[in-house]
């Protein structure tokens, strides 16, 4: 469970990216975060895995304060969270297999664990036949699936994606979203910041709408924007 209590974030340059945000995301939920550019979606996400610290307020994950956490415990917080980005962030000199295995090596997994687990997640995202290809040999959607596989491989309890379909066409985007839905159905919390109105409107999941650093709407089975 993720809880924000009255969280504000002012960047060093004076930009007030979040203003008193309070929200709660239960374990196993599927949540869209929507809102215009500059609303503070990415900032909210960065606070969850402690890339940034809030200026004010408290954040808890499973009852543990993210803010008061010692910095040497941060890696272990991040192992609980799988991150997916708009620009995939794959290592271009490594194959799909190596990219996914990289995340396991970083947390100290052994060779046999890796050779067993990587094909397993690759299958989950539909990439089991592309393990030996390099990112440049893949389509955008396949690259994003690789990134998702990497985020999943250490079995995190939360998956956070910041505009995961921002660089993809609508059909491909649907494939990626199906992927997230499968992951969510296995019990993983999924949080997605997105501008993909068509998808949000069809999937009817919980929607947290932001504007100017504030939560302006939070509804179950919501849509991208209320008709005004």
């Amino acid at each position: 469970m993720i809880s924000f209590f009255n969280v504000s974030k002012v960047y060093p340059n004076g930009v007030n990216a979040l203003r008193g945000v309070s929200l709660q995301i239960e374990t196993g939920e599927f949540v869209f975060i929507v809102g215009p550019s500059g609303a503070g979606k990415s900032t909210l996400i960065k606070l969850i895995f402690r890339e940034e610290l809030p200026t004010k307020g408290q954040i808890y994950i499973d009852g543990r304060s993210v803010i008061r956490m010692r910095s040497r415990d941060v890696p272990y917080l991040r192992r609980q969270i799988g991150m997916v980005f708009q620009d995939f962030r794959l290592l271009s000199d490594r194959t799909v297999f190596e990219n996914v295995a990289f995340a396991m090596k970083v947390v100290g997994a052994g060779r046999s664990e890796i050779t067993a687990r990587v094909p397993e997640v690759a299958k989950l995202v539909g990439l089991e036949k592309r393990l030996d290809d390099y990112p440049t040999q893949l389509s955008g959607g396949e690259q994003q699936r690789t990134a998702i596989a990497r985020a999943l491989v250490n079995k995190p309890s939360i998956i956070i994606a910041d505009e995961p379909t921002g660089n993809l066409d609508i059909d491909t985007s649907w494939g990626i979203m199906d992927c997230f839905r499968d992951i969510n159905e296995q019990g993983t919390t999924v949080i997605i910041a997105t501008h993909a109105k068509e998808i949000v409107d069809v999937m009817r999941q919980r929607v947290i709408a932001m504007n100017c650093g504030q939560v302006v709407r939070d509804e179950q089975r919501g849509v991208y924007a209320n008709a005004t």
């Binding site: 090596k105 970083v106 997994a109």
Partner: protein, 298 residues
């Protein structure tokens, strides 16, 4: 915070280091090269210093006081004076030189072909003593004291040479030290720059590492190791070149000037080469940790 790591992490770190060394080969070549040059010059400085030291010591230990006794002192009387020389503070070695031996010494200094042959029939040289002090710096005081002893006619030593030599070796040591420190600093700087560039080249990887929950030490190790390897390879290069060129140089020099007391003792050389290799590793470690410390605050 350092925690001992399992073998597979070590294995992983080595994989990463070699991957990086292979990929940034040009950069790494430059770093190892500059380290090699720095250590090479440093090595030259060290070799120069130990040789000057050795030459200076040889010259210093050859500085002796020739004590000529008065003409009317017989050989027996001369021998009885020996204890009074030994009593003088700083005196280490007292050798009696008979007139005949004195003549031989003279011949040795002036060359066999010189016109001394006629002298041997009626040797005009007095009985004499050759005296050495333990510390060459005591030559002046000892000579003055010897001159005051009864029966001593004349005292000779290379006045001033000793003092000048000491001043010179002192300066060589100071300048050599400054040069060596400057070179070491520049080597550290170069390795730091290289690590920083490697780091820059790999920032995407580091970023991903941090996102998937790598500990700081896990990210640091490959960079530190890379610096150490670069420093070591550079030192190895420097030592190799030094070894080959110094061997040839000393051989040629000693063929040309046979009495030159150069350092060719292999155990002395081993120490210098060992120091250079150790320094390479140390410089690599310092250089890489400087940039890692500065740039790893992710």
């Amino acid at each position: 915070m350092y925690t001992p790591m399992p073998l597979r992490k070590i294995n992983y770190i080595f994989q990463e280091v070699f991957r990086s060394l292979k990929r940034n080969s040009l950069l790494n070549f430059a770093a190892a090269g500059t380290t090699a040059i720095s250590l090479f010059v440093l090595g030259i400085g060290m070799l120069l210093m130990i040789n000057i030291d050795q030459i200076a010591n040889t010259v210093e230990s050859n500085v002796e006081i020739m004590v000529y006794l008065e003409d009317d002192i017989s050989e027996n009387e001369a021998h009885s004076m020996e204890p009074s020389f030994n009593r003088i503070s700083g005196v280490k070695e007292v050798v009696f030189v008979s007139p005949d031996e004195g003549l031989e010494l003279l011949e040795g200094w002036m060359g066999k072909g010189s016109d001394l042959g006629s002298l041997s029939e009626e040797n005009p040289l007095p009985n004499a003593y050759k005296i050495k002090t333990g510390d060459p710096r005591e030559v002046g005081a000892a000579a003055a004291e010897i001159e005051r002893l009864p029966g001593v006619d004349n005292v000779r030593y290379e006045q001033g040479v000793v003092e000048k030599l000491f001043a010179l070796t002192e300066w060589v040591r100071i300048i050599g030290l400054i040069v060596i420190v400057l070179l070491a600093v520049s080597a550290i700087f170069l390795i730091a720059t290289t690590t920083r560039l490697t780091f820059y080249a790999r920032r995407k990887e580091i970023n991903i590492m941090k996102y998937v929950g790598a500990t700081d030490w896990f990210v640091r190790w490959p960079f530190l190791l890379e610096g150490v390897i670069l420093g070591f390879v550079g030192a190895l290069l420097a030592v190799g070149v030094l070894y080959l060129s110094y061997g040839t140089l000393t051989m040629k020099l000693q063929q040309a000037i046979t009495f030159l007391p150069l350092v060719t003792d292999s155990s002395d050389m081993l120490i210098i080469y060992g120091i250079l290799l150790g320094l390479g590793v140390l410089l690599g470690a310092i250089g890489s940790s400087i940039s890692v410390r500065k740039y790893l605050r992710v």
